[in-house]
């Protein structure tokens, strides 16, 4: 029905919107309609923002974060602790850590985890860059904030080995009961991990 009621530009807009996370063809149609109805307030500013982001956003040469400046604003920020690097899997994890506001050191985005099923090998990840940064004289600690999955922890052990020759302390985030979690509703593995790392 939409093929008869909309031109190719609108169909293209719907098709591209439907590729975004959380949107399918039906919700993409609704989003497109919403944008078209609010052309001045939403559609034009969004198009300008997208064009701006496409033109200016870069990957930080130090930590692999996204930003419009290179090095990124986190790497360039004065007053952050240069002696601690927090290694995360993806940029989304870096943003999550920053949202929490509990870490004031530097970051390093590894770019994924080792995975046989997905064919990701050590050389496909940004591990060499982390080793190089950790070798700087002022670095004292590397925090491995990788996911608590088999692939995530296999990668963490691998990075620990790669850092073994450096005089840095390698630590990891704790695994266990989440804040607000009830033991009755936790899976056996989480309870086992929490018990193993009790203090």
């Amino acid at each position: 029905m939409i093929n008869r009621s909309a031109g190719p530009e609108i169909l293209r807009l719907i098709d591209l919107l439907s590729k975004l996370p959380g949107l399918g063809p039906r919700s993409a149609r609704r989003a497109a309609l919403h944008l078209l109805k609010r052309r001045d307030q939403l559609l034009s500013p969004l198009a300008a923002a997208l064009a701006d982001a496409a033109a200016k956003v870069q990957i930080c040469r130090l930590c692999a974060n996204f930003d419009t400046v290179n090095p990124c604003s986190v790497c360039a920020a004065p007053g952050r602790d240069n002696s601690v690097i927090c290694a995360v899997e993806e940029v989304g994890d870096l943003w999550a850590m920053e949202r929490s506001g509990v870490f004031r050191g530097r970051y390093h985005v590894v770019g994924g985890t080792l995975s046989a099923l997905d064919g990701i090998r050590p050389e496909d990840l940004n591990i060499a860059g982390l080793v190089e940064r950790a070798g700087a004289t002022d670095v004292r600690e590397v925090i491995l904030a990788l996911n608590a999955t088999v692939d995530g922890q296999t990668t963490a052990h691998y990075i620990t080995d790669r850092l073994a020759h450096l005089p840095v302390r390698v630590t990891r985030l704790a695994h266990g009961v989440p804040v607000g979690g009830e033991l009755d509703h936790l899976d056996d593995g989480t309870i086992a991990a929490a018990m193993a790392s009790r203090r």
């Binding site: 080792l114 608590a148 999955t149 088999v150 695994h175 593995g189 989480t190 991990a193 193993a196």
Partner: protein, 247 residues
């Protein structure tokens, strides 16, 4: 409508779409199978589906050759227990990647499944499982049709003093019968033919070299694949932990 339930070892999970996941398992009587898990990308569902965990799975599809859907209940969440133990986690990853890479889809291998369960249960005992892993790899080769004949010497027919294996035939050979071919043979550690023989770091390393040769040159070469990286990482880790001799 095709449907079955079985005990299964998870071989891994990959995201599919935003909320779903494709689960790959080694089911006891249904072999290696894949299927979609609704909501499998969620934190709650992902934890029990980690590689190395034992599950009770139910698979449903319109027909047997469809991808199908899994529902899974956890039976043994050992992956979480081993996450802090680098050696055990390396063993777990190597075992699941070897199974994922070597097993044909849908072929029942209950004996191999039972052996894998035993090995996974032993992974916390780092002084025991490396030798057990070598034996399990010998079993994997046998189940996949590339078994070694370690019962008697290929040259003399004698069943004592076996020290080497021919890389060509996969048969045991007495070193004294090998003549000028000795340096082309693969050393056969005693613990692979005698259950009472000790498995020293040198023996276990020789065992991994033996099984690694036939896994790489026969089983995985036949599948046009490389031996999984996780096996190399496991051996490297065991060497650094002093469980295997270097070199």
């Amino acid at each position: 409508m095709a449907e079955w339930s079985d005990h299964a070892i998870s071989l891994g999970l990959r995201r599919f779409g935003e909320t779903g996941a494709i689960l790959e398992v080694f089911a006891r009587t249904h072999g290696r199978r894949r299927g979609m898990v609704y909501g499998g990308a969620s934190q709650k569902k992902r934890a029990p589906l980690q590689a190395g965990n034992t599950l009770r799975v139910t698979w449903k599809a319109r027909s047997d050759d469809n991808l199908g859907f899994f529902t899974a209940e956890s039976e043994n969440e050992r992956a979480a227990v081993h996450m802090a133990d680098a050696e055990a986690l390396a063993g777990l990853a190597a075992l699941s990647d070897l199974l994922a890479g070597a097993l044909p889809e849908g072929e029942s291998k209950p004996a191999l499944y039972d052996a894998a369960e035993t090995l996974l249960d032993m992974l916390g005992h780092n002084d025991v499982w490396p030798a057990l892993f070598v034996r399990w790899e010998l079993g994997l080769l046998t189940m996949m049709g590339f078994g070694l004949d370690l019962s008697r010497c290929a040259v003399s027919g004698s069943n004592d003093g076996l020290t080497h294996v021919s890389p060509k035939s996969g048969k045991a050979v007495r070193g004294s019968e090998a003549g000028g071919y000795l340096d082309r043979l693969l050393p056969l550690p005693a613990f692979l033919i005698d259950n009472t023989a000790p498995a020293t770091p040198v023996d276990i390393r020789a065992g991994f070299r033996l099984t690694g040769y036939f896994l790489g040159e026969r089983l995985f070469a036949d599948l046009n694949k490389q031996i999984p990286e996780a096996r190399l990482l496991m051996i490297d880790r065991l060497v650094r932990a002093g469980r295997l001799s270097p070199g």
